[in-house]
């Protein structure tokens, strides 16, 4: 990857292989010295309940999720360690990163 910033969009729920791939991808990107931003939407917001995902935050991965989708799923965001965000924030992530990988 030419740049230093990687963005990841995750829209599938934790029982899908995608979340495991995202976690491993984040670990690999961090090990390579990349900055990583993850945005979760649709059923991807359930990743907020998974330690494998939230454990990435102290390692330096910035994780945010779609507030609208979390609200639809009755998630209590005040108990979730990821940032509550909007699609507008996601547009900023896309503009900021050098490469975006989507898991839809």
């Amino acid at each position: 990857m030419a740049g230093n910033k990687l963005g990841i969009l995750l829209t599938t729920s934790p029982e899908n292989q995608d979340m495991h791939t995202v976690v491993k991808l984040c670990d690999a990107a961090l090990a390579a010295g990349k900055e990583v931003q993850v945005f979760m939407m649709c059923d991807g917001v359930y990743g907020s309940y998974c330690a494998s995902m939230t454990d990435l935050i102290p390692k330096g991965v910035q994780i945010s999720q779609c507030h609208h989708n979390a609200e639809e799923r009755k998630m209590e965001e005040e108990h979730i360690p990821v940032k509550s965000a909007s699609q507008y924030i996601f547009s900023g992530i896309i503009e900021d990163v050098d490469r975006l990988i989507t898991f839809c």
Partner: protein
């Protein structure tokens, strides 16, 4: 590679609410600075079919499409996919393009988000 964000819908809107979610996301993304193009391929072309009627209450994707048209974002349909499925009449006046033209849109995009 430009700044364009391409959202590509491949699935039928009748079997998932993800198309609705993708369009909602598009409306949100439209507030950013990057130009946005929506591409409808394969079963995704049904989303724009004039004969397609949303079945689930509260998930009428047309409200998002109307908003995107008002914001003057281009809606692009893969002509081959539409022809294969007998979709000849469209809502929201999309541009019908060839696969080569759509490949060029994807190639030139900064990011492609596929639903």
């Amino acid at each position: 590679m430009g700044d364009n964000i391409c959202i590509m819908l491949r699935r039928s809107p009748f079997s998932t609410v993800r198309n609705f979610e993708a369009l909602r996301s598009c409306v949100g993304l439209s507030m950013g600075d990057s130009p946005l193009t929506m591409v409808f391929v394969e079963d995704g072309v049904y989303t724009l079919s004039a004969k397609g009627k949303p079945l689930l209450e509260g998930f009428d994707w047309n409200k998002h499409l109307e908003m995107l048209k008002e914001l003057e974002f281009e809606l692009v349909v893969d002509g081959t996919s539409a022809k294969e499925r007998g979709v000849t009449e469209f809502n929201h006046e999309p541009s019908v393009k060839s696969r080569d033209e759509i490949a060029a849109i994807l190639r030139d995009a900064k990011a492609v988000i596929t639903y």
